[in-house]
């Protein structure tokens, strides 16, 4: 790792100010950023840790929505998001226990890894990303692999999920990285079904609209018979071909529908 300055502010305002420095970068739990820095893929002048900001931690639910502070760890979401069991279950299967004790929801969503779990949960649930100066709708937030609507220096202070009637996340684990080889989040809301897929597309997380239409009129695995996604634009790597991922996401969507609770 190249060296950098380290700062740990106690408030969002102080963090925003610290991030004003040239090439400063925010540090969530560091479970992706630190490995990236070790590979010297990135050279910030300063890391601004968000872990000392008490206002950015915690889980609260009201009015059919659940809000998670941006600096809340996966372990805390797994333990405390009981108002939205499918979300708690998603958090409980990210990485491994030690990673879940450090990694944060804000860090995961800011990074928008194409195989991360939270992007599928947020896009599948619908909701919004709250930053230090605005709310960004989930449908506007994800803009392709590692790319989001966040501006330079903008901090995710919280994330709000709409709690559906039923939901389920199916993750086919890539066992070395513990990321999703493919992951599918299905949510049945009063006004329709949302299906979000991670790990598959070269454009990062996406909504599978054909499946959403079919499931909105008939919420059963059988409604997906005969519907498939083209392998074009799907990720091919040593873990699986695009065709394999396209096939897998269909299977996982059926499983998610069958398991939705």
């Amino acid at each position: 790792m190249y060296n950098f300055e380290f700062e740990k502010p106690g408030s969002v305002a102080d963090a925003v100010a610290a991030l004003g420095a040239e090439d400063a970068q925010a540090l969530g739990g560091g479970q992706t950023l630190i490995p990236t820095l070790k590979q010297r893929l990135n050279q910030p002048s300063k890391l601004v840790s968000l872990s000392g900001i008490a206002d950015m931690k915690g889980v609260s639910a009201s009015g059919g929505m659940i809000t998670i502070g941006g600096a809340t760890t996966h372990a805390t979401v797994a333990a405390e998001a009981s108002a939205y069991p499918a979300l708690a279950a998603t958090a409980a299967h990210i990485g491994d226990p030690a990673v879940r004790n450090r990694g944060t929801i804000g860090g995961s969503l800011a990074n928008n890894d194409p195989a991360a779990c939270y992007p599928a949960a947020l896009l599948g649930s619908g909701g919004s990303v709250k930053t230090d100066n605005r709310d960004i709708d989930a449908d506007e937030y994800f803009q392709g692999m590692f790319s989001t609507a966040l501006e330079e220096g903008e901090i995710i202070t919280g994330v709000t999920f709409n709690i559906p009637e039923k939901a389920n996340y199916q993750k086919f684990v890539q066992p070395a990285s513990r990321f999703a080889l493919v992951g599918v989040f299905v949510a049945k809301h009063a006004d329709g079904v949302r299906v979000a897929i991670t790990g598959a597309s070269e454009d990062g997380v996406f909504r599978w609209s054909e499946a959403e239409t079919a499931l909105s009129s008939n919420f059963s695995a059988a409604a997906l018979d005969g519907i498939s996604v083209s392998a074009d634009g799907m990720i091919t790597d040593l873990h699986g071909t695009g065709a394999y991922r396209a096939h897998l996401l269909g299977i996982l969507t059926k499983r998610a529908v069958a398991a939705a609770a």
């Binding site: 630190i34 490995p35 840790s49 372990a75 491994d96 990673v99």
Partner: protein, 161 residues
């Protein structure tokens, strides 16, 4: 440089670290607690697991500066006050839960974290919890057995040796 002060295994320690100094480096190189092992340095193997404020973390993937003010516990802090092995350590010895011993500090720290949150885990729960701890020697069966035994459960029925 950043000044850091923390409690490690009950003792106050302090030092000066660079922004990039990892907690694993601080423990091993600055305060000479080399029981915490670095197997991969990429967050995969779990040999470097320590407890920070009671929670298991991979010390190769946490900055030392982030641990300022924290309570840290490493494998050196696991033995009983009189120097005898703790229940978990003794169970690893009794059930041959180690061969070369490289992964063992992390295994013991992960096991301690598991048993704190789930005092009587099933065999499957132990195996799942250890997904971030890699052992290249034992094949895991005896590690699982040791942890089950440390939780006071009968291990005579557990799989293959």
């Amino acid at each position: 440089m950043n000044k850091v002060s923390m409690t490690v295994n009950g003792k106050a320690v302090s030092g000066e670290v660079e922004g990039r100094t990892l907690l694993s480096s601080f423990l091993r190189d600055d305060i000479n607690l080399t029981g915490t092992h670095v197997g991969c340095d990429t967050s995969q193997c779990g040999a470097c697991v320590v407890h920070v404020d009671g929670e298991a973390v991979k010390s190769c993937t946490m900055l030392a500066a982030e641990a300022d003010g924290a309570e840290v516990k490493t494998i050196e802090g696991m033995a009983n006050a009189d120097g005898s092995l703790s229940v978990i350590q003794q169970a690893f010895q009794d059930h041959h839960g180690l061969q070369c011993g490289f992964c063992t500090p992390g295994m013991v720290m992960s096991a301690a974290a598991l048993l704190k949150e789930n005092p009587q885990p099933s065999e499957q729960e132990v195996r799942t919890y250890l997904e971030g701890n890699i052992c290249r020697c034992t094949g895991y069966h005896n590690i699982v057995k040791a942890i089950m035994a440390a939780s006071g459960q009968d291990v005579s029925v557990i799989a293959a040796e």
